[in-house]
């Protein structure tokens, strides 16, 4: 820690284009150590669990029950979840209903725009194994598009089931320490089952830019 400081005395601190703040790698290592001990991991998990904001992507007909679930009768906002329009500021994506080939590309792009740690809930039997539309040539499974944490059966699932899935996701985050684990280690392991984006979005043509800054 002393060496960089001495080196710095030769160079003015606020010269044009140069500003020395800290040794970032050292700081990150220290922060990661702090995040693994004490009450901080459980606080991070608690905060993440009570602010799961779903992004505003209506995939299919289960969207009616999502609208009812965040409506006045089955109020899901009491769990801290607020449907929010911008993918960059949300951490939950609810894939409701059938995912078609065209929609799979959009789900993937939206998911990639969301910052980590992020979660996904697959809603309805169409998300499990095709549901009523099995054998159809135009649908794909959501677990081939994004990695899913919680599945909800039902056609459509009642809004109480959606509320229960949020509670289950909260329990999963807090018991397994998903959010604090990501902050400490910074990796996600479950991406091996999903189709690469080139195959999903190849139908859009050559001149469409599909990069989302996080991948």
């Amino acid at each position: 820690m002393t060496e960089p400081m001495q080196e710095n005395k030769k160079r003015p601190m606020f010269s044009k284009g140069n500003m020395f703040l800290a040794d970032m790698d050292e700081m990150v290592k220290r922060a990661r150590e702090i995040l693994k001990k004490g009450p901080l991991p459980s606080m991070v998990d608690w905060a993440t669990a009570f602010s799961l904001w779903p992004v505003h992507l209506m995939t299919s007909c289960c969207g009616c029950e999502i609208g009812a679930a965040w409506g006045p009768r089955f109020d899901n906002e009491r769990y801290g979840s607020l449907p929010w329009v911008s993918p960059r500021q949300t951490n939950l994506i609810i894939v409701e209903g059938t995912v078609t080939r065209k929609m799979g590309c959009s789900v993937r792009i939206t998911w990639e725009q969301m910052p980590y740690p992020k979660f996904a809930i697959a809603m309805g039997v169409c998300a499990l194994d095709g549901g009523l539309f099995y054998n159809s040539y135009n649908i794909i499974r959501p677990w081939q598009v994004i990695p899913i944490d919680i599945y909800i059966p039902g056609c459509p699932p009642r809004p109480e089931a959606v509320a229960r899935s949020i509670v289950e996701l909260q329990r999963k985050i807090r018991e397994e320490g998903v959010a604090s684990g990501w902050l400490a280690d910074g990796e996600r392991q479950d991406l091996k089952n999903i189709i690469p984006k080139e195959d999903l979005c190849s139908w859009r043509g050559e001149d469409v830019d599909l990069s989302t800054r996080y991948s």
Binding site: N135, Y137, N138, R141, S202
Partner: protein, 174 residues
């Protein structure tokens, strides 16, 4: 359901100027008039002038054993009270291997998007359509002309695999 069924059949014959033995059948819920593709535009223009001002649906039915595709335009009237209770099906049959039908979207604007859908699902070429391109499907699926009878719906267990390694070996996404 339609009370004076004979009345509408006679009226259609007089509107379209058909011979008495031309096929105008009263089916369950609509009256079907069959014309050949060359005189489709004239028949549609005559119907529009008589008061049938919009198209409810454009259907194509595939008959592989007769080697024909039949295109039906169901038209009715919104403004004319005497005609709004009846639905007329203007039908024409074309060859299955090279189906070409003159487009009626210049006469009935309401048929524009429906003709696009029949183009992508059956491969029927509508001549004179302003914007013929796939509407619902991705281009690779539309090229297989899904609603024809020789496109068989495959049971999904055959090729949908659960891990990416198996998926790459079958490569369904080409």
């Amino acid at each position: 359901m339609s009370t004076s069924a004979q009345g509408i059949v006679e009226r259609l014959r007089s509107i379209l100027g058909l011979a008495p033995e031309a096929p105008v059948e009263q089916l369950k819920g609509y009256v079907e008039v069959s014309v050949d593709p060359a005189s489709l535009r004239d028949a549609a223009a005559k119907l529009k002038a008589a008061g049938f001002d919009h198209v409810k649906s454009v259907t194509a039915v595939d008959y592989p054993d007769k080697k024909q595709i039949k295109v039906i335009y169901h038209a009715s009237s919104m403004l004319d009270e005497s005609l709004s209770g009846y639905v007329v099906g203007l039908a024409t049959s074309v060859d299955r291997d090279n189906p070409t039908v003159p487009s009626l979207s210049s006469i009935w604007v309401s048929a524009e998007f429906q003709e696009r859908e029949m183009y992508e699902f059956f491969g029927v070429n509508f001549e004179g359509h302003p914007d013929l391109r796939p509407l619902l499907l991705t281009p690779d699926v539309a090229a297989q002309r899904p609603l024809r009878k020789d496109f068989k719906v495959v049971e999904e267990d055959d090729y949908l695999k659960s891990t990416y390694d198996e998926y790459t070996s079958t490569k369904r996404w080409v």
